[in-house]
């Protein structure tokens, strides 16, 4: 060793000698310790320097492949220096190149054209450290993700910490046991509101509340008799009966399956040039509906989708569940088939980690995750679970999946490994195949402390690698802090309009933090304590006063000033119908909705204009018979190259990547659809003809219309409005030229067409479009 280096070492060694007498370093992480000139070198390092090194330097200057050859993870690395020489100058610490580069803003380097120069006080700390002789506690090894900093999450990030069941807020916990039990949701929400001096809104009007619950649970409105019955029911358990009944209907599964299908990028074609149909994808959709309706425990729901083919009790249904892994886009003609294997891996890692864990693991494909504690190696560990699957280019007829004999079951869309002894998977530097690095053993992510494990190899007589099974077991391990939190947040989102975590697919550093962390954890433990059954949680949410409150709060003016985003839940969120609820309700109101469960999807009629976007034009699209087109929207065939124009207008999500929450836009083209699209006019005409044939008097007809569309009687002024409308329009319609009309039922009378235009008017109203 260079003699001067020896001299340099004298100072830190002296201080380390003192440090060894100190208790464990963990105490140094306690922020309570005051830092002053008398703090020991070790304390100084732990409290002042280590956080800075981890935050600003370690992303590049880590141990394995240190940038510029300089590792700042260990004292050795620091002393060794980098390719351009020593990083510290022991004779004149202030002259160290490390300091010089920090000073002139060279380090940390410019990012996206912006200087990352450190603040003066940060530089001063580095200076002070060097002046002390750059002390470094013995054997201390810094690690990129050891702690959360201002720029990235460490393994102590909130969502990665163990879930413990929080106690109920104090003033609720000592609630008199003779009083009615308080819903735990209200306890947590109420406590926070009171601490902010806020009050929740009063309970919503019964009719509005009923409509809200119907849409939330089954995606359809109540009819007028259901509203009337609920209004007339004064029994204390009237609401509970509604909730129980709704959760027992098969429509519950139809509604909630749609939310799940968004999360797993459901579509029924491959995308790209040929956009081949993936036959039997609909069986997966039906499996989701069925699983929800029978309240399959969520851990089982996860397990079957990831490894239904690997279960000892495997059957046709569990194999159909693995269709989830088949739903992604698939290009039969990628530029380089060998590169494309890694794109397919990314899709599988991405959908799995997003849907179940709410983490953006895919970001670690090319480098360590910039924001979350996921090493690049972690990405490949997890990807190893899918490495034995049919991801390489094979017979195009198989559309990127296993063939029938590999799967062992005919006429299903499923997944399985095609070997139990796959070649080793290598980490790719920068994600590039020609830069293959070390072999990576398949296993779980390391971000959850104490839960990480390798996937053990299987015996040669086992058909698959069972890696997906191991991955699923890790995901549904009750000690995994993400799984339960992520799914209860999804439930909350669809009942309350926003999640407790407002980025449902991102529980990492760049996502939002929970507005009510204790409530989130309480719900998560409640789910697991209920054997992962979801329906009790649905009921708990529906039964809460927080859910039942009005969208209007008399203190809104003031509350908006402090919490315009309604993060404290001081009112219910008014919501616009989504594309499916809108289309289903139109068919419901016109009396045409076909509520048949399950089976192959129907193809809607698409106007020739909209078909122009297809390279094969009309040849690629044949609409189903009209009689099948009145089914609920979840049964609508989803073609990636031709998404339904009407559904897309109302914010149907992109179907290539997982979507946790749809956009809600209000744009003029939506008004054009509602005013002009033939589908709307056909529903209006159908409703008009029914009402006209059933009622002879205009007054009764108007009454009937309001009942059908709004499930309530019209008020006097509304009757007047409708009468005036009809008086104005009837003579005009009588003179109109129908020869060109393209609405079905050419024989329709002017009277019916005029009344239909009134129906369409109501379909266009905000009362129809929004749920209070």
């Amino acid at each position: 060793m260079h003699p001067s280096k020896n001299r340099w070492l004298v100072i830190p060694l002296a201080s380390l000698f003192v440090a060894t007498a100190l208790p464990h370093f963990a105490i140094a992480a306690e922020p309570a310790l005051a830092i002053d000139a008398e703090s020991t070198d070790d304390q100084f390092f732990e409290q002042q320097v280590a956080p800075l090194l981890v935050m600003h330097c370690l992303e590049c200057h880590q141990e394995k492949t240190p940038s510029g050859g300089l590792s700042l993870a260990t004292q050795n690395g620091l002393l060794r220096g980098g390719d351009s020489g020593a990083s510290i100058d022991e004779d004149d610490p202030k002259d160290s190149s490390l300091l010089a580069r920090i000073h002139d803003g060279e380090m940390p380097p410019i990012k996206q054209g912006r200087s990352q120069k450190l603040d003066d006080d940060v530089i001063a700390t580095f200076e002070a450290w060097l002046l002390r002789g750059a002390p470094w506690p013995e054997n201390r090894r810094l690690e990129l993700y050891e702690r959360t900093s201002a720029v990235r999450a460490g393994r102590n990030w909130w969502s990665l910490t163990k879930i413990t069941r929080p106690s109920l807020p104090a003033d609720y916990a000592n609630n008199d046991s003779s009083a009615p039990a308080i819903n735990a949701i209200d306890a947590f929400i109420g406590a926070k509101l009171r601490s902010e001096n806020m009050k929740s809104a009063p309970r919503a009007e019964k009719a509005l509340l009923l409509r809200r619950a119907y849409y939330d649970v089954i995606g359809l409105p109540p009819n007028d008799q259901q509203v009337a019955a609920f209004l007339a029911d004064d029994s204390p358990d009237a609401w509970e009966k509604v909730v129980d009944d709704l959760l027992q209907t098969p429509q519950y599964g139809q509604r909630w399956a749609r939310h799940w299908l968004d999360v797993v990028r459901f579509a029924e074609t491959s995308g790209y040039e040929r956009d081949q149909e993936k036959a039997f994808a609909w069986k997966y959709r039906d499996w989701v509906i069925q699983s929800l309706n029978e309240d399959k425990p969520y851990d089982r729901f996860v397990l079957e989708q990831l490894a239904g083919d690997e279960l000892p009790e495997r059957n046709e249904q569990t194999v159909i569940a693995t269709g989830m892994l088949r739903l992604g886009t698939w290009n039969d003609e990628p530029n380089d088939p060998e590169d494309y294997v890694y794109d397919r891996l990314e899709d599988l890692v991405h959908v799995t980690s997003t849907a179940f864990l709410g983490m953006t693991v895919k970001c670690a494909r090319c480098h360590d995750h910039k924001f979350d504690p996921i090493y690049q190696e972690d990405y490949y560990r997890m990807a190893g679970a899918f490495w034995a699957g049919p991801i390489a280019a094979r017979d195009r007829e198989w559309l990127g999946g296993p063939n029938e004999s590999e799967l062992g079951i005919a006429n299903v869309l499923g997944w399985t490994d095609i070997t139990n002894q796959p070649s080793p998977l290598r980490l790719l530097k920068n994600g590039e195949r020609d830069q293959a690095q070390q072999e990576v053993a398949p296993g779980t992510l390391s971000m959850i402390t104490d839960l990480s494990r390798d996937f053990a190899p299987v015996d040669s007589n086992v058909k698959t690698t069972q890696r997906r099974l191991r991955l699923a077991e890790w995901i549904i391990d009750p000690a995994n802090p993400l799984t339960a939190r992520v799914i209860v947040n999804r439930l909350w989102l669809h009942y309350f309009g926003q999640g407790l975590v407002r980025t449902p697919n991102n529980f990492g550093f760049t996502g939002e933090q929970p507005t009510h962390p204790e409530l989130l954890d309480w719900l998560a433990t409640e789910l697991m304590d209920n054997s992962w059954r979801l329906k009790p949680l649905h009921k708990l949410m529906l039964m809460s006063e927080t859910y039942c409150q009005s969208t209007l709060n008399s203190e809104a003016e003031q509350y908006n000033l402090v919490d315009a985003g309604n993060r404290f839940w001081w009112r219910a969120e008014r919501r616009r119908l989504d594309a499916e609820a809108l289309r289903d309700t139109l068919l419901f109101a016109s009396g045409e909705l076909d509520q048949q469960l399950g089976g192959p999807s129907f193809r809607e009629t698409v106007s020739p204009e909209a078909l122009e976007g297809l390279s094969q034009k009309s040849a690629a699209w044949t609409a189903s018979p009209e009689s099948e087109q009145h089914r609920r929207s979840i049964y609508m065939f989803t073609k990636r190259g031709l998404l339904s124009p009407m559904m897309t207008a109302f914010d149907l999500c992109d179907v290539t990547q997982p979507c946790g929450q749809r956009d809600i836009t209000t744009v003029a083209p939506q008004a054009l659809v509602m005013l002009n699209n033939p589908f709307i006019h056909q529903r209006g005409l159908h409703l008009a003809e029914q009402i006209l044939s059933e009622h002879g008097e205009w007054k009764d007809r108007i009454e009937a219309l309001w009942l059908r569309v709004y499930a309530r009687s019209p008020r006097a002024d509304e009757v007047q409005l409708a009468v005036r409308y009809l008086q104005t329009q009837l003579p005009v319609f009588a003179q109109s030229d129908f020869a060109q009309s393209d609405v079905e039922g050419q024989a329709a009378q002017p009277e019916a067409l005029c009344f239909a235009s009134l129906c369409v008017g109501l379909f266009n109203s905000n009362e129809f479009f929004y749920v209070d």
Binding site: D372, T503, E609, G613, L614, R640, Q657, Q670, L675
Partner: protein, 497 residues
Amino acid sequence: MTSKKYYPCGQSRREFVWQMGGGFAGVALASLLAQDGFRSQQASGDDSSEKSPEAAINPTSPKSPHFAPRAKACIFLMMNGAPSQVDTFDYKPELEKYSGKSLPEDKKFINSGGRQMGYLTPAWRPFRPGGESGLLVSDYFPEVRKHADKLCVLNSCHTDSHAHGSALVAMNTGKTLIGRPSLGSWCVYGLGSENESLPGYVVMLDKRGGPIGGQPNWSSGFMPATYSGTLFRPSGDPILDLRGPAHITRDMQRTQLDLIAQLNQRHLAERQIFNQAGGQDLASRINSYELAFRMQSSAPDAVDLSQESQETLEMYGVGKDPTDEYGRNCLIARRLIERGVRYIQLYSGGGHLEETWDAHESIEKNHGRHSAEVDQPIAALLADLEQRGMLDETLVIWGGEFGRMPFSEGQGAPGRNHNPYGFSMWLAGAGVRGGMNYGATDEFGFEAVQDKVHLHDLHATILHMMGLDHELLTYFHQGRDESLTDVGGRVIEAILG
């Protein structure tokens, strides 16, 4: 109580503007702003904290660029199917010498589709110098050649796929995988639109069909659908659902709209009892109906070519075979630019194979046919934009999703196979240096070797000309600041005038 001047929805002017429904591509509600993409950022170079509520609420209201733009609008002339560079804009005299020989063995490539490999073949039509610059353009584009001094030909383009489906989507979205926002979406996201009653991003397809892959080519990907391209037809009703059933006249619809407005007013009033902002979403929707009603006349007006002079129509080749279709589209593109539309893509070629520029069978037959359809219209567009003083602010881009091989598809087979390794595109307008070639392919015209232009570089340059920094124009999605050029892209400074 203070006296306020009240506007249509019973609100003050400020509140009214804030709650305005509309913008063709519309208004995102506060809930949208709270989501991923809008959570902590705005697309433009403005300091978002200083944004007015108006700008913050309407995602397509005009936004400030990052720096002074060279172009306010962009027209992408998409030669779907991939024209051959050595037959159009990349003159390779050496091919005469090597004619009939094979491409040297050390040139590595993927033989797309496993087709027959033939022999090096010189250009099927001669090249001639054009303009004062003497820029070489082949006889497939004699009219465009007259504008040679406006053209900046990029001879060194290369892309990431040899297959139409993924290469088209790459040319449009930057990646070969579907699901990402297209170039036009990025432009509208970054700059907004100047006209609220027309879409900011318009796509006009070839009547023979859409591009391979369809919708993902003009999708907004993970951004709100607000930013996606709108398919526009060149006559009658240019967009979907612009007209209802024939028996409902405009007056009858007006009566219907008044009914809807009255139903909505009462509904709104009941929901504003405690605070005006309580009905913001509802008011937005009410306003969107008035805009929709106006669009029913403004959109057809944009494609009403009867307003154009006979001279103009003739210049574009409207009413004549085979230029009518593309001529109309080019002329409509100019009319849309005049109306403030930001990004327009005009497809030449649609469907598959010979219906597009995909000249596997015969360069002469295929390119002869397609160039005859577009040469005059494109020249007319350049001339028209120039004479109206619009060319300085409009960027025109010409090119396909890749190029073609310098060799044939077999002995005596006059077609050429796909080539992503080297191809030509050109830019014009918006202060681009004209009359120049940038970059070069090897002596065979096979692969880009000098000043290579990857499609990310092209995209970075296009955004730059629109006043957007490709590294700063990001959209937060799934934990990552996504951008059009991802980690790549470099602005080609040398071609900026």
